[in-house]
């Protein structure tokens, strides 16, 4: 960087500031909205100075939404818990199934292996709405509609291909000879998978898991159709804030702040881990 002139640095600073404002503005604005009432939010022109209130958060946490038309029960905390449970379980199941599968696809070329891998990837090609109708019918017949198991199953359409394809690439990047060296020193292939392949692909698995978590967390349409109120995640639950007496912007904002907090925290934590993992796992050869 020693060759950059002052002008260049100033321009770079301006560009960076613009980018940061562009990306951060909605989040900051929502954070501000979450501490305001509907009246202050809807004031024109909008004002940066206001008297903060915790009413929105209280309403969400107690589950009582007070509107002009009366008091409404909302299941936001329940929805939040559903989101956490569904996303965590789905990613866990996808990791459990996807990581060994990715290893198999990376290391063992068997007849049809490419076709199977591609079929799994193609799950992500189909528009969700296209598969929803048959899926709903099947699920009702099978008794899976409106169950956690059914939802986690459908979430595999989102998580499994993602994990499989990302992790497979990481496994393929590990020189096979490192594993051979371990095996010839007296270890079974399973021990090699656990002690060599898994740790070396760790950063990749973490990245894939994180991505899958975000996709699962943000899913809307599967849960909208396949789950009723008590199984719905926050993405669907947020619809409850559009009431007959108006849209509750304050509560929506608070709900958004609460629902992006877990993913944001996870992303920040995993980012640190990813950088560490990548610099430790430098494999020469």
């Amino acid at each position: 960087m020693e060759h950059t002139s002052l002008l260049e640095r100033i321009l770079r600073g301006i560009a960076l500031t613009l980018v940061v404002i562009f990306f951060m503005f909605p989040i900051v604005w929502i954070l501000m909205m979450s501490f305001q009432t509907n009246e202050t939010i809807l004031r024109i022109p909008p004002q940066l100075v206001f008297k903060p209130t915790l009413a929105n958060y209280t309403a969400l946490i107690t589950g009582k939404l007070t509107t002009a038309a009366g008091t409404l029960d909302i299941a936001f905390m329940r929805n939040l818990w559903n989101s956490v449970f569904l996303s965590v379980t789905s990613v866990a199941v996808a990791l459990l199934l996807g990581v060994p599968a990715a290893y198999a696809f990376a290391r063992h070329k068997f007849r049809g292996s490419e076709d199977i891998a591609f079929t799994l990837l193609s799950f992500r090609f189909a528009p969700a709405l296209l598969v929803l109708l048959p899926l709903t019918l099947y699920f009702q017949k099978l008794g899976l509609a409106n169950t956690y198991i059914g939802l986690i199953w459908v979430y595999q359409l989102i998580c499994l291909p993602l994990i499989l394809w990302i992790v497979r690439g990481y496994f393929e990047d590990i020189p096979a000879d490192i594993e051979y060296a371990y095996r010839i020193a007296g270890h079974s292939w399973f021990a090699t998978f656990r002690k060599i392949a898994l740790p070396l692909a760790g950063p990749g698995i973490a990245a894939a898991g994180l991505l899958a978590f975000i996709f699962a967390w943000n899913n809307f349409v599967f849960a909208l159709v396949l789950a009723s109120a008590d199984k719905q995640p926050v993405t669907v639950g947020a619809l409850a804030f559009i009431t007959s007496s108006g849209i509750q912007y304050g509560q929506i904002s608070a709900a958004i702040v609460l629902s992006i907090t877990p993913t944001l925290a996870l992303a920040l934590y995993a980012q640190r881990y990813l950088v560490e993992g990548l610099s430790l796992g430098a494999v020469k050869g």
Binding site: A181, I184, V283
Partner: protein, 374 residues
């Protein structure tokens, strides 16, 4: 007979479907005695590494059997074969230090810690890596990684030690020193080692016997001396030896007590029949067309020789390589003095008939060799 450490019999390797895929190793049969050091020598793609990997168990054997120390192992997983291997790409475990990498297999074999430490210390001394034992693979040079990888293989007590290009990354001086030490180490402990290399000097220096491979076929499996003096075919003849053997097609003519070898471009080498060794003379007289091979060391400049034109002249520090246009091709000769010849200068060369190798013109198989065995 020496007990067999490794028996490979009728082994084929196909990449892809059997009989239709790439035929990487073809009907390979060889036997290696206990305590022998054998080099698999060949250019890339000749099947030497595939062979090594089949012995180790990383590649499936398409056909045939492999036995290590009398046990059939070709269907066993690597862990049950009791072989150690040093990998061409080093393949050290990144999260472990050099010491841990080397001690690794010993710990897995439940050796006492004091024994492990002693072994690591002695191998580290042998390979001159004592000062990097506590370092991680990512922080040491390629040559150091290679030595660590070699150490990780040599430290084990196994029925077979497989070394894949074990010294490719080392500096020349160190390589020469280590070759000697490693050979001594292997011999002293009575280990059996198979090394894969494309470096003839390394094969010559380390190996008791060399298996020359080309196109997946074992061309010849013999001692370094025999490979030089009794090449089985044109391939080994021209592959082994530096600079390579000169080869020319020749028509055999006889006149009275003379044999003349007529080369392309109208040149003719005339010799007394008695000038050849017995078998070479008899074989030549039976044939009309042959391929003759002449080692560069057996070609001399002499006033009454046949004419050639200098096309290159290199002083290598201890010998001069002279290339000359000769008989429609190129001929290389070696002189031990520093010779300075102008490009295009005419020279006359003579070839000692006692040093001729004679090959069959169509099959390339050796027919007869002039040189007496050393």
């Amino acid at each position: 007979m020496i007990p067999s450490a490794l028996t490979i019999s009728g082994v084929d390797k196909f990449y892809g479907p059997i009989d239709r895929g790439v035929h990487a190793v073809q009907n390979l049969t060889m036997e290696i005695g206990r305590g022998e050091i054998v080099a698999l020598l060949g250019s890339s793609g000749c099947g030497k590494t595939s062979t090594l990997r089949m012995i180790a168990g990383f590649e499936e054997v398409s056909r045939g059997t492999i036995s290590v120390a009398g046990r059939k192992v070709h269907t066993l997983p690597p862990v049950k074969r009791n072989v150690a291997m040093a990998f061409e790409g080093y393949s050290l475990y990144p999260p472990l230090t050099v010491r841990e990498n080397m001690a690794f297999a010993l710990k897995a074999a439940k050796l006492r810690k004091s024994d492990v430490d002693a072994k690591v210390a002695s191998i580290a001394k042998l390979l001159e890596i004592e000062d990097i034992l506590e370092r991680y693979p990512s922080s040491i040079s390629g040559g150091q990684q290679q030595r660590a990888s070699l150490g990780r293989a040599l430290i084990r007590e196994a029925d077979l030690h497989l070394l894949d290009e074990p010294m490719g990354q080392l500096e020349p001086q160190l390589r020469a020193v280590l070759r000697g030490r490693i050979k001594h180490f292997i011999k002293e402990r009575g280990l059996t080692a198979i090394l894969v290399t494309h470096d003839q000097t390394e094969a010559n220096a380390l190996a008791d016997r060399i298996a020359v491979m080309e196109g997946g076929v074992l061309q010849q499996f013999d001692t370094p001396d025999m490979l030089k003096q009794r090449p089985a075919n044109l391939f080994t003849g021209t592959f082994v030896g530096e600079p390579p053997m000169n080869v020319f097609e020749a028509y055999v003519g006889t006149a009275a007590d003379k044999i003349n070898l007529r080369l392309p471009d109208g040149l003719s080498l005339d010799y007394d029949k008695d000038a050849f060794s017995g078998s070479v003379r008899d074989e030549l007289l039976k044939r009309q067309r042959v391929v003759i091979g002449i080692r560069p060391y057996a070609v001399r400049r002499s006033k009454d020789g046949v004419p050639a034109t200098v096309s290159a002249n290199q002083w290598l520090g201890d010998q001069t390589h002279i290339a000359a246009d000769f008989a429609g091709g190129s001929l290389v000769l070696v002189e031990h003095d520093r010779t300075r010849l102008e490009l295009g200068a005419p020279i006359n060369i003579s070839i000692d008939p006692k040093n001729l190798h004679v090959f069959d013109q169509s099959s390339g198989m050796a027919i007869s060799h002039g040189m007496e065995l050393a």
